[in-house]
Symmetry: C2
Subunit: 280 residues, 2 copies
Amino acid sequence: MSKFFSEETSAEAVNSRMGDRANPRLKQVMSSLVVHLHAFIKDVQLTQSEWETAIDFLTQTGQVCSSERQEFILLSDTLGASMLVDAINNRRPSGATENTVLGPFHVKGAPEREMGAAISFDGKGESCLFEGRVTDVEGRGISGARIDVWSDNAEGFYDVQQPDIQPKWNNRGTFTTGADGSYSFIGIKPVSYPIPHDGPVGQMLRKLGRHPYRPAHMHFIVTAPDFQKLVTHTFVADDGYMTSDAVFGVKETLIAPYERLQDAATLWRSSFNFVLAPSS
Amino acid sequence: MSKFFSEETSAEAVNSRMGDRANPRLKQVMSSLVVHLHAFIKDVQLTQSEWETAIDFLTQTGQVCSSERQEFILLSDTLGASMLVDAINNRRPSGATENTVLGPFHVKGAPEREMGAAISFDGKGESCLFEGRVTDVEGRGISGARIDVWSDNAEGFYDVQQPDIQPKWNNRGTFTTGADGSYSFIGIKPVSYPIPHDGPVGQMLRKLGRHPYRPAHMHFIVTAPDFQKLVTHTFVADDGYMTSDAVFGVKETLIAPYERLQDAATLWRSSFNFVLAPSS
């Protein structure tokens, strides 16, 4: 190879510069990144003005980030990168509940509540009983599993998006299973909502002919000693955006039934069992 | 293919969402980007914490950008992407002078000067006569070619980096060739300098075991009616960073001789002919 950069050997020219004492994993990741970045540029024969557009887009994406907004995570989500990383890092044995993306609205420290308690305090939405069991892959109930749940309200906003409007910890709570592994709580039937789409990522979606909506879902983190941490949602089965989630979070096994009740304490019931894989 | 995202069909799942009426070129570019981005993530089996590091890095890179600093261009430069785009968009017939990157320090509107005039006004550095001809690929002089030149000063800074220290337009000028296509002006022998390395890109270079230096070079933009615009540098032949330019800008054909003079008006002379390719 020539000592100098050329179109033909561009990626090798860059990667041959990395120092011998650089972290081997960093070198592996960055070398692969350079190979794929250069292959992309060559595949599409990227023009100078397209490159300028890309630089502007990335710059705007970085500049719109703040303590309340993470536009690069949104970009990763909408390009399927977040779900792919999640999939690679959470392969599970058959029968164990699948992961999906955490999303930007989880808040640590939600109040611990009694089984069966309500988590929705703004008086909005259609009430729903969430119930089921936390088990191992053999179906044995797991005692002492912690369940951290959160959802949007009936207008499609999480409490942290409306700190002046919604009660603190609205539609959030943590629960601990008893001996049989069962859980239950009363929330609302979640509704679909758009991801923030007034920034560069929203503009990208519009230009690609894509909408910004996520199908309605309830978030769960389920943890128990000796089991893999489960970060997932259950999706509302009749949602119109089920096959076009803007962030690709839907897995078929995570679609939950929502049963309309008569003469009951809640309008809906959604039953779902969480099956935890053993820690490796 | 399933209607839902999976590790196996991740890129197809994303690309199948693009609307029928989106711009075809945009779809082509973004589809290729998604394919290569997902292939990269799979190749290295990117971990969740590495993904978080990447999100943080991109965010910091965007946030450090300002009207005086473009860290994403620096990132593109240091990963060889800028040079690759330049190479793809400026393929030239054999014998024509090669392009290299524009760099961030060009300023439009540099003063028009007489042939042979000086461009260096801070009294620093080793004087150098730059001379040669602008010709077509058959060696015929091009009359009326405009030459826009700029370099750093003897301390490695461009005038725009030191507006309170250097005279305005220090080491800059534009010249127009006469009938035979020849040019000459008096500047200084340029010196090597580091690209800005106090930000995320500098940190990346350190972790990769790479230095931030560019070998000494004089910038040229040469234009003439009916010829392709030439954006290039000439490199100072004896520079120690010649084979390790932080932005991969060196091409062997752009290395210029610097001849030490005795009893002459300047300490050095650098002769270089610019050969323009016809516009297509």
